[in-house]
Amino acid sequence: MTAEPMTDAPGGYFGRALVVDVGTGRATVVKLSDRVLRDHLGGVGLGAWLLTELAPVGVDPLAPEAPLAFCFSPLVGTPLTTSAKFAVVAKSPLTGLLTDALASSHFAISGKLTGNDAIVVRGACTRPSILLVDGAGARVEPADDVWGHSAAEAEAALKKRLGAGWRIAAIGTAGERGVRYATVSHDGRHAGRGGLGAVMGSKKLKAVAVRAATKVAPADRDAVLAASRDLRSRSLGKATAKYRELGTLANLLAFNALSTLPTRNFTAATFEQAPRLAAEDISDLRKVARNSCASCSIGCEHIYAAKGGKKARVEYENVFALGPMCGVSDPDDVLAASARCDELGLDTISAGGTIAWAMECAERGLLDAPWLRFGDGAALLRALDEIGAGTGIGPLLAEGSRRAAERVGAGSADFAPHVKGMEMPGYEPRTMHAMALGLAVNARGADHNRSGAYEADLSGDLDRLDGGQAHVAAAVETEDRAAVMDSMILCKFLRGVFTEPFDEWAALLCPVTGWDVDGAELRATARRIVALKRAYNLREGWTAADDWLPERLLSEPVQVGSGREASLTPQRLRRMIDGYYAARGLDTQGRPVPSGDGAGSGAGQ
């Protein structure tokens, strides 16, 4: 099947999603109407719509029928900075709910220029395979030779086999083994959260390869070029200096000073050895390169030298999860662990969180792994190896902290660091009450990318230790902003350059699509996307009890730098959640109230 663009597609779109059954090799096209695209934009919004339309109700995330969607956006292929991103969307084997993860670079451009706004994979292969999509359509080829290899090795081997022009998203061995927090990666960047790699592995699909076959046509090319020049210029200012100069690891010492650095499985909010992992120091001592994603002028990616001549891409979340969260302070161990996660294809946040939980279990005598102790870098690496190899305690930890705690019992669920099954990122909810709410109610689970409420806590505009109605408003606002940025798609590291974000985003979208969209419409779009995700989750078994935080965070205070204790009571969290439900127009149980303003129409296979 060749990629014929729909004749009535808006600018920046092809108006179609390619749906491939990798079991049969059969490909079909879902027409994406102007209404569907305008209502959901692309990326995670379009992915949520596709999943709602195409996934069987109650499907096992690892069953052949479960769809796995690679979704592009209207901005991909334009010169707008940071727009070369794609979303991978599926029902998560970690949470049992919707998960959507972003990754960047050339796969996004080539994938979209196959002539599709999304590529959806269904079915399962009978042997290790790859899916190829280009202008000639879709086909499935055997890939036994790369099964058992890391994603990077597989990507390199497949590039050699397929030739120039192919871009490849692949899984590591963790995805092959069904680790519930395995990633899909491209060019070393991961669509990381929620176990998308396990979904792909369950289909015996090692990689998806795409090759550009056409061009994208914005509605007003000159206006897009002018907007691109302006945005690029603004992207080089103070608002993005942190990402350019030090990367997100610059958060580590700042968070430590602000008592928001989760340490030793959330038993502390400061890590006494944090300076050993400081970007301010190790960037001078170890940094070997700084990279950008395709079409990006920020260049946030900082590559560090790791032990044994290896290199590691370092982000705050990697270092938090594999460092302070596990009590490990030796930068060699943390960088090695980060590189190991990359090789295996593991989400570092879930890997670190699950291992930190296991370290606490072992120290309490709940887990027969006396070698596993907080602060022991060698133990951290061994745990990662066992997860990757499926040996020792690996199979238990491959399930994630929620399922593992259910098996271990003995009260270990109280300190399992997850929301909805997804492990917590590096933000201490007891000292960040807006973020606490964001983490509790987010559709994906404990997540800092779909809820950026930490921005409010760190803004100085509200009392971060005294959550109330202002925190509710902040959580709603930042969640809405994320919904649009993740659907258009624009990198969140740009967020500081926008002063009136919805209006400015609309001004970018207009010349690309030809729509007369404005900021008010984008706000409505954001609400629609957030509601759609919630509706999908409700359909798949979500209940109000899932919008909550781990018991430890609600029963144990944590000390801040001044010596004062900070806490978050269940009553305060309940009040904020109730406020969130009211602000979202949900009922008291957090369920969407039917309004006719969601998804539903526009599909035609």
């Binding site: 608002a239 942190k242 000073a257 301010e280």
Partner: protein, 265 residues
């Protein structure tokens, strides 16, 4: 003084702004300012509640009652002070407030043998008791202390607290400025010594590490650290509240952390 003490300049801020900020940090709760009707006040943080004392000549108990009434449903204990204490330290506020226990209704410092009813902690529920006293024309704080359970803290009791002993061993927190000469003398003292730390990109260009500077406010600390305290920067004092308010007062021993406003992500 011949002028309202509340608005007296204080190292780039005002006496009342300083007092409000120090008390807020010491109690970690809401702050109420009681003023005379239409009394002009200097700029204060937006979360400070303003109440009016519309009956003149009734002395400190009247203002105390109004403030305590405002806090009856939101706090178990209230620190009450006047506006003219330029060296009030957060450690003093915390020491007095934390001394309150189930057996007492008032924590009353007795420094140098003098009772300090306007640097003391009270149960907000005492507001009703004070109303009765005022109605009976019994306007002195001593009448209140006769009718409730008072924990008296001597100088030695106060500095038995390690934090206060380190921060304010001579109990300068209790110094008032009652005359222009007092004010000039107080103003001539150097600003407190605080520590400043910059992180992330702010730590570039030789700004890494802890530095000691003299600064009475966050803005002054930023200036002393050669830092633009603009919209791209936020600060926190002792790892607590994040703020963009340069007028936030500092006390000796504070650590001020400056980070990029886009922390996170």
């Amino acid at each position: 003084m011949g002028t309202s003490k509340a608005g007296l300049p204080w190292h780039g801020s005002t006496l009342l702004r300083r007092t409000v900020g120090v008390v807020a940090r010491g109690v970690a709760g809401p702050v109420v300012v009681v003023r005379a009707p239409d009394q002009p006040l200097p700029e204060l943080p937006p979360d400070v509640e303003i109440r009016e004392d519309d009956q003149e000549g009734l002395g400190p108990l009247q203002g105390l009652a109004i403030g305590l009434h405002a806090l009856r449903d939101v706090a178990d204990v209230a620190f009450c002070c006047s506006t003219d204490m330029p060296f009030l330290h957060t450690a003093f506020v915390s020491r007095v407030v934390e001394a309150m226990d189930d057996d007492h209704d008032v924590v009353l410092p007795v420094a140098n043998g003098h009772r300090q009813p306007l640097a003391a902690a009270y149960r907000p529920s005492l507001a009703v008791e004070i109303d009765d006293l005022l109605a009976a024309g019994r306007l002195k704080p001593a009448f209140l202390f006769d009718r409730c359970r008072v924990l008296r803290l001597s100088d030695d009791d106060l500095v038995a607290d390690r934090r206060l002993a380190a921060a304010d061993p001579s109990l300068d927190s209790l110094i008032n400025v009652n005359a222009p000469a007092d004010y000039e003398q107080a103003l001539a003292r150097p600003a407190p010594v605080v520590r400043v730390e910059c992180f992330g990109t702010l730590a570039r260009n030789g700004h890494r590490g802890v530095r000691a500077v003299q600064a009475a406010t966050i803005a002054a600390a930023a200036q002393a650290a050669d830092l633009d305290f603009d919209r791209h920067v936020v600060a926190a004092v002792n790892g607590e509240q994040v703020t963009r308010d340069g007028a936030t007062p500092l006390v000796s021993g504070d650590t001020v952390t400056f980070v990029s406003a886009d922390a996170g992500g």
